[in-house]
């Protein structure tokens, strides 16, 4: 996999809204994790065979796609956490997520549950739009005002 391909892959991950992509091939393994708005390579292991310089170059190239990703976010609405707590994407572990990337949402739709000291809070949307990105993993601790969702207004 060359640098261009890796850059393409990072762009793809940024646009797709998924939080993590792993590709495991015979000669290499790459993991791209989205951190906040910008994806970053957190792990790339070349198998013994390929040229040793490749992973280093890839790591250096990684910051480049960050800027366009940020620009793409410019006209998106960021839904932030109204409180400190733990973020849950569904009402209970056996239930489907309230929303997924690509879902259309409107005012009153439940987006997530935030739990704090055994108080469970269903957070309803105030906006209409399409979920472009979910910025926090299920069951993660979150802070007040932390961005949770990116929504494309509709």
């Amino acid at each position: 996999m060359d640098i261009k391909e890796i850059q393409e892959l990072i762009k793809f991950v940024a646009k797709s809204g998924v939080s993590e992509v792993s590709i495991d091939r015979k000669d290499f393994k790459i993991t791209i994790k989205a951190q906040g708005n910008a994806p970053a390579i957190v792990n790339m292991q070349a198998a013994p065979m390929p040229i040793a310089a490749a992973p280093v170059a890839a790591a250096a190239a990684a910051p480049a796609p960050v800027a366009p990703a940020a620009n793409e976010n410019a006209n998106l609405i960021t839904i932030k956490s109204p409180m400190i707590g733990t973020f849950y994407r569904s009402g209970s572990p056996d239930k489907p997520s309230f929303v997924n990337v690509g879902d259309k949402i409107g005012p009153g739709n439940v987006l997530c549950v935030i739990e704090a000291m055994k108080l469970f809070n269903e957070i309803e949307s105030e906006v209409s739009g399409k979920i472009v990105k979910i910025l926090v993993d299920n069951a993660s601790p979150i802070e007040y005002d932390q961005p949770l969702f990116l929504v494309e207004p509709m």
Partner: protein
């Protein structure tokens, strides 16, 4: 003396998955429901406890119900006041029957070292306001035997040897709850927090806690604004949310 609006309207179900879920479904289906309505069940097939735990109760032996409130007056950041109010109300109610009633942080009700009641509060947040609050309460009244899984449970009847009328108990509990709920609308939070601390299980008594997998000796010194437990360990103060600390009882 009855409560003014809490429990004035009672929906009594024979069997339901959980009264909290039933209430939430009523709300999402736009069924008109007045503030203070009580949804009670003789039996819950999927009673909810904390973090997916199951609340176990035999049919018609205990109080299992949810109250629907609309605490618009309460800031999201102050929502722990709801937990405090309901916990204190259950203590108020129980003190006429048994002694040594305490609140095990954040909101389990204990008699001695055994759990008699649990609370599960589910809020709906809309435009940075607590639009509605479903307060689920399970209070063990007449149940005599608990399964091995509920090793730490007790009931009022076990403690006193008496049998109680559930409807009467519900009415007087609703009155206690309404008083404490109304109080958070007007009273200052500082004095309500103080009342909570006075009832807190192990308040200012050194005891063992499991923290990050390790047993540590600590002393509960208070709670902060959002309800985190303030514990002194080896002379320094630490704050914990409910996922970071386990009581060793």
């Amino acid at each position: 003396m009855k409560a003014l609006y809490t429990g004035k309207n009672i929906i009594h179900l024979k069997e339901v998955h959980s009264t909290n879920r039933y209430t939430a479904e009523m709300l999402s289906n736009s069924v008109p429901i007045t503030e203070g309505s009580v949804i009670m069940a003789d039996f819950q097939t999927a009673g909810k406890g904390q973090s997916g735990a199951i609340w176990e109760s035999l049919p018609k032996e205990n109080l299992l119900f949810s109250i629907y409130y609309r605490p618009h007056f309460l800031k999201i950041a102050d929502q722990f006041m709801l937990s405090i109010a309901i916990s204190l109300a259950i203590c108020d109610f129980l003190k006429d029957y048994v002694e040594d009633v305490t609140i095990k942080w954040p909101n389990d009700i204990y008699v001695g070292n055994q759990k008699i009641a649990g609370i599960l509060i589910e809020n709906s947040i809309q435009q940075d306001v607590i639009n509605s609050s479903i307060i689920g309460i399970g209070l063990n009244i007449n149940q005599k035997v608990f399964s091995a899984q509920a090793e730490n449970a007790c009931s009022l009847s076990q403690l006193t040897g008496l049998q109680y009328d559930l409807q009467q108990m519900l009415q007087s509990l609703c009155k206690c709850i309404e008083e404490r709920y109304d109080a958070i609308k007007i009273e200052d939070y500082q004095s309500i927090r103080l009342a909570y601390l006075e009832k807190l299980f192990r308040f200012q008594h050194p005891a063992n806690y499991r923290i990050k997998g390790e047993v540590q000796l600590g002393t509960i010194e208070g709670i902060d604004e959002i309800g985190r437990l303030e514990l002194s360990i080896n002379g320094s103060m630490h704050y914990f949310n409910n996922k970071e600390i386990t009581f060793i009882i």
